[in-house]
């Protein structure tokens, strides 16, 4: 197993974390539906408590995604976070607001009232997802930065990564394709949120409204995602000459990546079909609560394969449109061979982590949330 193997392996792990994160964004999606699906205070309490048993897994996945990106691709971490300062910072603000909201919302001593913390949950759901989608959109559309390691010895300006717009990342909001992806993630998360409610809550009205909502958000998702996908497949992609490492523009690069990596392409298709089937179960089935699993697995596969698409097959995953040759690939931005190997040993823990999360999830969700549970004077959010 050589250096390139471990670079690919870590890109896979980071992509997997990103894909799991998008699935777990059902929490954020659900947060934006509190007042759409919950019409009474009690219904909203059920929704909040249902999401409240999962929010910290999403949060932890985001933090681990960041940590893994830092450890395995530090040049990306330095360039993107230090350059596209504003979208990342605002995204973090959205998550900071979420962290305390479940716990403090209905506590007696909360002098700001529950509405404020519900607003925080909405901001997290809306802002957090749109910003995340826009930030990931730049992986396909490129950003304005340069990397010059020689600058390290320039005493007056030793910073090696430079962003070349005064907006420090906010300019990405003006790119239609980034926006399309931002809203795709937003509506996908709402679809997943509704499907999760159908699965997790035993209440006829909530389930009925959730089924309606699945369809509405699924249409909005498709309206946003299909143009993004077609545009991305047939526009120019950021390709890399394998021998020289020179980056160049290639039309249809992302489409051909799926053709040239048929397994990845096939899994992408399986993901899309599974997602659509999950949506179908959620919107049209009378009794099935399994939509979340099909849509969830579908989203994980689709996001995973899209991220593998831009990392593998001589592609730049974080391109610069200001200076093509500053674009980042999994080879020029990764940690050293030694560090990747050490961390790969640690990564063997991941199946155990996933196993105990699944086990705990099953134990805690054995019984669906219902009104009776909320009426018991037990611990609740």
């Amino acid at each position: 197993m050589d250096y390139a193997f471990f670079q690919a392996y870590w890109w896979f792990l980071v992509s997997l974390l990103g894909a799991l994160l998008v699935f777990l964004f059902f929490v954020q999606g659900g947060q934006t539906l509190l007042y759409t699906i919950g019409k009474t205070e009690q219904e909203r309490t059920m929704l909040v408590n249902s999401l409240g048993r999962k929010w910290d897994i999403t949060f932890t996945t985001l933090v681990t995604f960041g940590g893994a990106a830092f450890a395995s691709f530090p040049l990306f971490y330095a360039t993107s976070f230090g350059g596209a300062y504003w979208p990342w910072m605002l995204l973090l603000v959205c998550f900071v607001l979420q962290a305390v909201s479940y716990e403090w919302r209905t506590k007696a001593g909360n002098i700001f009232g529950h509405k404020m913390f519900e607003t925080f949950l909405f901001i997290n759901g809306f802002g957090g997802l749109i910003l995340f989608g826009i930030a990931v959109g730049t992986f396909f559309t490129g950003s304005d930065f340069t990397v010059n390691k020689g600058d390290l010895t320039q005493l007056a300006m030793p910073v090696i990564s430079t962003w070349h717009t005064p907006w420090h990342g906010l300019e990405a909001v003006l790119n239609v394709r980034n926006l399309l992806l931002g809203f795709s993630i937003f509506f996908l998360a709402r679809v997943l949120g509704s499907l999760y409610f159908i699965n997790n809550i035993a209440d006829d009205m909530i389930v009925k409204r959730s089924r309606k909502q699945v369809l509405r958000d699924a249409i909005a998702f498709l309206v946003m995602f299909l143009p993004f996908l077609v545009w991305t497949f047939f526009s120019q992609g950021f390709a890399v000459q394998p021998d020289s490492g020179v980056v160049f523009l290639e039309k249809g690069k992302y489409f051909f990546n799926f053709i040239q990596m048929p397994l990845v392409g096939l899994l992408f298709l399986v993901g899309v079909v599974s997602l659509l089937y999950g949506i179908f179960l959620g919107a049209f089935s009378k009794s099935s609560t399994k939509g979340i699993w099909f849509a969830g697995i579908g989203s994980v596969l689709a996001v995973l394969t899209l991220l593998l698409n831009i990392g593998y097959n001589n592609t730049s995953f974080y391109p610069s449109i200001y200076d093509l040759q500053s674009s980042l690939t999994i080879f020029n931005s990764s940690s050293s061979f030694f560090t990747l190997k050490v961390m790969s040993v640690v990564s063997l823990l991941i199946p155990f982590v996933l196993a105990y999360i699944v086990y705990v999830w099953r134990v805690m969700d054995k019984k669906q949330i219902d009104k009776a549970e909320m009426d018991e004077d037990n611990v609740k959010y």
């Binding site: 940590g67 830092f70 450890a71 530090p74 330095a78 230090g82 001593g109 090696i160 990564s161 805690m364």
Partner: protein, 518 residues
Amino acid sequence: MGTLDLSIIDWSRAQFAVTALYHWLSVPLTLSLGFIMAVMETLYYRTGNEEWKRMTKFWMHLFAANFVLGIAGGIILEFQFGTNWSNYSWLVGDIFGAPLAIEGIMAFFLESTFFVVMIFGWNKTSKGFHLVSTWLTWVGATLSALWILVANAWMQYPTGTFFNIDTVRNEMTSFSAVLFSPVAMSKFFHTVTSSWIVGAAFVIGVSSWYLLKKRNIEFSHKSILIASVFGLAGILLTIFTGDSSAYQVAQKQPMKLAAMEGLYHGKNGTSLIAFGVLNPEKKVYNDSIPPFLFKMSIPDGLSWLAYHHLHAFVPGVQDLLDGSYLLTMANGEQIKPLTTDEKLTFGRMSHQAMIDYRLAKKDKNDSLMSVNRAIFDATSPYFGYGYVKTKTQLVPNVPLTFYAFHFMVIFGGFFLLFFALLLYFRRKIQNMKWLLWLGIFSIPLAYLTSFSGWIVAEVGRQPWAIQDLLPTFAAVSNVPVSSIKTTLTIFVLIYTVFFITIVGVMTREIRKGPESIK
């Protein structure tokens, strides 16, 4: 290319300090209260006594309110390395990133998964599984502390690494050297055990208030007993690990030690300042103004603390910057460390070697490349000195470091006495109003003592982000100052709202008391 706006450094540091401070409002209580309530739940599990369950649940409510505050603060700290310290992230991400990733995989998932069971699982899981979940939440929090402190220790003592001239960054050569570095071990045990004092003080303070109000008497006595034993163990271990921390500082960061003691001129057999007032007129390290207006000291104390040898020479700020001296080690051996002038020369040589190496590489001049590589490899441990323009840049804020250190030590002594008194008087404290009031005031005192420890650690190591390798002024991101000021303002506003809320939530929970738990 332009010139870096130097106020970026101050604002980036301010933002990091403020967010770290808020984060640290929560962390020590999580590390300690987690243990106390796990002990209580274990007693419930073993005896079946519902009173222990009620106590566990009461402290767990307060734990949960505090825990989420820590999560809110923690995420910013992690990503801030990228957003505000991008040069740092690239230069040392190969080493520093690994513990952060491992922290996520190993600790955060454990904490967050079992936290949910702990809070919501009382009626959904077996007694045994619930107890295990409570312990695992605490284990997860402590493991998280381990990894982040390993990362922090590496910044203070960069070991198990080499500077790769080809990739222009530091790369890990030994994971075990990073994980088991003596600084990491002292730092982990010192930080965790000192955090126990915060939780102990918190439980004692709340229980003292009940005793003053003459309510929840039995609950309060039991809570105080458990917290005092835990607190006493915590402070004894803190003193022990503090001694080894100070020993490590003396070896690896002598400038920090000099600042902690306000020591400008060392001598054989240096005394330890027990209490002192610094002279505010002293502005520059090499002026002739005496550093103290008043001081009380313990003869030869610092020599013993720093080198475990009564007559050892402890260098002061001026010795470190302008002089050369001999260090006597614990075994009596004498060594002559590099002078600052030599380090500055090496720093500049390493910068020049890197420039020349890169030029030679471009020209494909192999012999010139190997010459410069050899120079670089020999001098790169002092790479950071290449950024230093004047020696005064190498002196941390002495008054802040000095007072924080002495505050920490004096109140460490106070807590030793305090926990011992509580254990000595046991149930008699019910009638000792002054001690109960002291119990309440011990809560803010414990936090302030804990904060002062961090001030010593982080202010005392300035200007270094990574000791000798990277000063803060070469570690930042080139982000407009106005942006950093804006994000800092946003964080201060949010955290202020959070602070007000958590004080309100906790006060109400405490007023309601354990009798409200069903």
